[in-house]
Symmetry: C2
Subunit: 345 residues, 2 copies
């Protein structure tokens, strides 16, 4: 147990990231309590990502013990997979609103972001990753969970003779060296190899797709494994979806209403160019919701993870906007790229 | 084909109401087009109930042919089961917003309600229902789909010697004699028998639960069958859920954020009386969303249909607020009632 042992433990078992290491989180209750007192708050909203939702009641308990009796804690039951997934209903209707597990996509005093940094030791797996790296120029990127160790990682590499290139990326990213599942601008650096330190498969895959000229080495401290990103299987799946959609007549164009996922111009452009395209708006994009629409294929202008990771679960081909342009013949097959998001909300 | 044959056909196959008769709907495109012209609208939002969503693109086509090119039609992809299920996101972001298939829960010029009346002939099945009715006082109720025939139904019964009692019910209801899945105030009439004309099982069940002293005769013109409502199986299922929840320590109290389903006082009362109760807010209440919360039982202050119809699909017992009071010992077992909603939004 760490020095934060009075707080609840947490894990990410339901996020799709299997854990080998136990983790503990710092819920930063002090910051929340300060905000409640400062604003004389009556309602406090808490939003957790899917894998941490089961810890919500314990955090609520801890807060209730520390706060006056007349403060009501509300737990968001909306699905949450990223900082773009703000529960704006709860945000607008609570005096203090806390979003756990992600870094801010935009500076706002409406939301308290508690990042929940991982306490996993990243250096043993970085040691292993050296076998895949050539000493010299290297890019370094990681996810929000490991940002607290970023400067140490950089120093660690520099001590071993690397010239470490990092970038803050664009407005969508909070930190130097941070990547999101939809934004890899922090890897736009002058090096042929990039070291990604973090769990999950989606981020390094997007990274390798977005930077096909670079070798992407994955040091995964969560599953304790080093790999080199391979986009071949991903590309096969995507080309499969594109081919299946080539015969489509009726297209459903999905506009996601989540605050950080709206790309109206992209959706409108598709509509303007295709009289058999229909605009469908929704927050959660799920197979159930699309099954009721009589479409031959869908193009999702919202989260690219839904399109590519969940794609096979939909009853009809689900493409990114770029893939749509290929399927309808506006762009050549080899223009297939990873779908990324820029800008905030 | 009827005189509305230029419009698309529709059915309710996915609503849980199996159809024996084909139906056609009047989408009242003229009203929509008038509103677009009047407001010089650029964006038109259309919301259909689940079973009619697949007709949405056809209605969009019809409208696109009749409207200027620069008008964008947006189809709501949010699940929709009733007038309480307004897609407020789309409503706020479109110049004209049309909600199909339900009657207004509240007068507002923000929404154009197109009721989609059924063209099923109700009188053959009413003829059959006479076998279950005693000539004399009878209440008459129906659903939004058949409201267009309500006065004819009344006259038909009166011609056969009945003294027909009807009521508008309360503010939640638009029409004399209308019932909702959560409101049966229109059956508070001075008669020992009530004739319900309509499809579905949920409405007459709620009706019989809400009025246990009355015989509820169901004339279902959709499935072409007459039955007398029997609450026994329903009660067994509900008492089963209540019993399973009696050992629960941790309770998830669901506050539904849909515009017509919020019962804040009910949720707050439960929280105030139980320190092991946690408030969870969400719009769609689904088994997936609740699985991530580590609770022993749930009490749903939102739509009663979710609690009772979908109840068995949840991994933990799901109770109505009244059933919760029984499970925690605040009320006797025999106080079990159907959960109804009053007031608008």
């Amino acid at each position: 147990m760490s020095e934060q042992s009075e707080y609840s433990e947490g894990d990410l078992r339901n996020t799709g990231m299997a854990l080998k290491h136990d983790r503990e989180w710092d819920y930063e209750l002090d910051r929340i309590i300060d905000a409640v007192e400062e604003r004389d708050a009556e309602k406090v909203g808490l939003q957790f990502p899917e894998g941490l939702k089961r810890r919500g009641p314990q955090v609520a308990d801890d807060l209730r013990e520390l706060l006056p009796d007349d403060v009501t804690i509300l737990l968001s039951g909306q699905p949450c997979y990223g900082a773009c997934d703000l529960d704006t209903y709860l945000m607008k209707r609570t005096d203090v609103f806390v979003h756990f597990g992600h870094s801010p996509m935009k500076n706002t005093d409406k939301v308290i972001y508690v990042p929940l940094f991982s306490n996993v030791d990243v250096f043993p797996i970085m040691e292993q990753s050296l076998e895949e790296l050539d000493v010299g120029d290297v890019g370094l990127v990681t996810t929000a969970q490991h940002m607290n160790h970023f400067e140490k990682m950089r120093g660690w590499l520099e001590e071993r003779g690397f010239d470490v290139h990092t970038r803050r990326g664009d407005d969508r990213l909070t930190h130097e060296g941070q990547v999101l599942g939809c934004n890899y601008a922090s890897a736009d650096i002058d090096a042929d190899q990039v070291l990604y330190v973090g769990g999950g498969k989606f981020h390094p895959l997007g990274l390798a797709m977005e930077h096909p000229d670079k070798t992407v080495v994955i040091a995964d401290p969560v599953n304790n494994v080093v790999t080199v990103a391979d986009t071949e299987k991903f590309l096969k799946q995507r080309y499969g979806a594109v081919h299946r959609a080539m015969d489509a007549e009726k297209w459903g164009v999905i506009f996601c209403t989540k605050i950080g996922q709206g790309r109206w111009d992209v959706a409108q452009d598709i509509l303007d160019g295709n009289e058999n395209a229909y605009l469908i708006t929704m927050d959660e994009v799920t197979p159930d919701r699309l099954r009721n629409f009589d479409m031959d294929a869908f193009v999702n202008t919202g989260c690219p993870r839904i399109t590519t990771d969940d794609g096979p679960r939909f009853h009809k081909p689900m493409l990114t906007p770029g893939e749509y342009e290929i399927a309808v013949g506006n762009e050549p097959l080899d223009s297939l790229e990873f779908d990324t998001f820029h800008g905030t909300w």
